[in-house]
Symmetry: C2
Subunit: 403 residues, 2 copies
């Protein structure tokens, strides 16, 4: 039997495709520090389960396609608190940020259309776009420049008549980069000039460090009718398994188009919406403590990485990832070697290979992404394992070459 070209062209998830090696290592009794996946160890606010436990209807019925009013009202209040003017009617609840991204691609683009995305980017952008035949046009950014954007001319030269939008994650995954207001204004100007949407993936909105001021694309009034906010409770409330997200846009005609897609899949789970509504009442102190914890972890990780010879990374300013350039022949080979052939006192670590975060072939081969989703004590142990592992790895190449 044949398969479609679009599905054959999809890569396996770089975050998930090494899981068999990890399972094998675990079966041999190795302990693995899982820095490959953005699964936080932070407790989900108990209000989530409490609200669900309190659900007492006897029929688990369909919800509305746009999502529960209670939940959309709670989301709207949350945005207004952030000075992002999104009303209930500007929001549709989705199966995680994932579905919101999928809807955005489908509503903006026909097959063959293009979307600009700064690379390295969240690997699943490739999956969403590929599945619906949208071409990703990468805007290459570099660790040495903190993964900030290249000059306007360079970005503008990538725009073609097929370009329908610019997708930016801010704070960035896997880079941890926070865009400056100037960068955002530059993208906004390009969007206006070339009639493009801006898809703003802001699921890490609260994860901004060093007292940096955060600007949402929802704060820019000139482009309000072309900004599509993609969001999720997954990271904010450590509720990745709830799969509740939303798509928000002040352009009601756009939302009417998205509603047709939402109606096609009927609705998002009824109970998860009940739980998520409760999450939006989580006290601010929870988010502040989580922020403090991640900032501390970021410090731990970044300090340890800086001290490793031949390792290059930019200090992440947000989210909870760091993209690391390693003095190795192939970062994915190195990860597999760490799982199969290496340990320190029976312990090793797992990361996500870098190539999957790039659209440009060849880029990211020497990089991997670490998610600092473990407590400091474990991160320190993991970083020691990495240091010793890099020294012992047979495919190590000299730092000068790595640079």
């Amino acid at each position: 039997m044949k398969f479609s070209e679009r599905v054959r062209a999809l890569q396996s998830s770089p975050v998930r495709r090494l899981l068999p090696y990890a399972e094998e290592a675990r079966a041999k009794g190795k302990k693995i520090y899982p820095l490959n996946i953005g699964q936080p160890d932070i407790k989900t606010p108990p209000s989530f389960l409490e609200a669900i436990r309190g659900f007492s209807q006897e029929v688990i019925a369909y919800a509305t396609s746009q999502g529960n009013n209670d939940l959309r009202d709670a989301m709207s209040a949350y945005y207004k608190n952030f000075d992002i003017p999104l009303e209930r009617e500007d929001l549709i609840v989705t199966n995680g940020g994932s579905e919101a991204l999928m809807f955005a691609f489908m509503a903006m683009c026909d097959p063959g259309d293009e979307v600009l995305i700064p690379e390295p980017f969240y690997a699943n952008y490739n999956a969403f776009s590929g599945a619906v035949n949208v071409k990703v046009q990468p805007i290459t950014t570099k660790a040495e420049e903190g993964f900030h954007l290249p000059p306007r001319e360079e970005i503008e030269s990538l725009i073609t008549p097929k370009t329908k939008g610019i997708l930016v994650a801010n704070p960035g995954n896997p880079t941890g980069t926070i865009y400056t207001r100037e960068e955002m204004d530059m993208l906004a100007a390009l969007a206006l000039k070339h009639d493009l949407y801006i898809v703003a993936d802001e699921v890490y909105r609260e994860f901004v460090y060093d007292g940096l001021k955060y600007t949402s694309f929802g704060h820019l009034p000139d482009i309000a009718d072309r900004v599509i906010i993609v969001d999720s409770v997954s990271k904010r409330y450590s509720a990745c398994g709830a799969r509740i997200g939303c798509i928000g846009c002040r352009n009601r005609d756009f939302m009417a188009q998205v509603l047709k897609l939402a109606q096609g899949r009927l609705c998002v789970p009824t109970l998860e919406q009940v739980g998520a509504t409760a999450l939006y009442s989580t006290p601010k102190s929870y988010l502040e403590e989580v922020n403090k914890e991640y900032q501390s972890r970021r410090n731990t990780l970044y300090k340890a990485l800086q001290e490793m010879p031949g390792v290059i990374c930019a200090e992440p300013k947000g989210a909870f990832y760091v993209m690391v350039k390693l003095p190795v022949d192939d970062a994915e080979k190195f990860i597999i070697w760490m799982l199969q052939n290496f340990d320190v006192n029976g312990e090793t670590l797992m990361a996500a290979g870098g190539e999957g975060f790039y659209a440009t072939p060849g880029l990211g081969k020497q990089e991997f992404r670490l998610a600092y989703v473990l407590k400091n004590e474990d991160l320190l142990k993991a970083m020691n394992i990495l240091k010793v592992g890099l020294e012992a790895y047979p495919g190590r190449i000299e730092p000068a070459v790595a640079r």
Copy 2:
């Protein structure tokens, strides 16, 4: 701002787009019998909520992309009990049957490819296919023939080099038709001859009446590598709001392709999987009682419809819908008129307009779909309202014309 052609071409859901008229009528104090949507009134087995209430992990974490092993094992056992040999590895858990259908379309078809579907069909097939640029080639079936398939030559004449599969719902929604073994063998022979997939939407597998023998496409060994089973707990366990379904195929290479799509959206909600696992232990007596109840409702509805002058319908043999041809100018106009301008003692009813269930333009204009998801007493009241409404409707046309 512009939108994609693919999203502009999507119709609003015929089942959901009349909701504003219903809300307006309710606001005026009218009681509405909701026969428009397949939302059963049957109680969800309490094991669903009990299992979820017992969930005690402190972090609501991601599940695996393919779905929990417990749930896939429960599904596999369920299929084996039906003599459908699907192992855990042949199954991926999805966000309802909806996502399973979407995955099937994407894995089979590139943009411009075609899928044959007997019409009238579940209206969302249009949404799924349109969103991913797959062309639906309808196989027209008729109420007068019980919506059974036309001769093989007629179907074969619709197959082109672009045809990648045949999608059949069995039992059928909105028709209630159960295909005979001969019809299924005929489709299987066509699939083998023309190298096509068969996507079998069997979410109503237990809803078969009059002691009819039910054959699943999973029972046909010759085409096991090309049968894609689409399934869901929604109707079986009256758990529509759980959004748990699955895609199953014994072709492991095909499932490896689907896994890439599943990885792209990370996972299905963790708690819903816990609840759904419990559902699969529901005693057989629950399903038997539900079957009996629906059969009785079918009898009630069909008898009442037969007694209405000018009304044509085939006796549904499965699922819980009936497609009805009415002596009216336009069935959707009639439904709106019933909501806006008509009532019997303050009560009216709602149905889903027929056109949305057809791909051939113009077909279904005089038809609507009724879902018999209410108890007999309410169905009788609703049928009386329909009878009186049809007599009073200004757009009534003579039965002879309707035929």
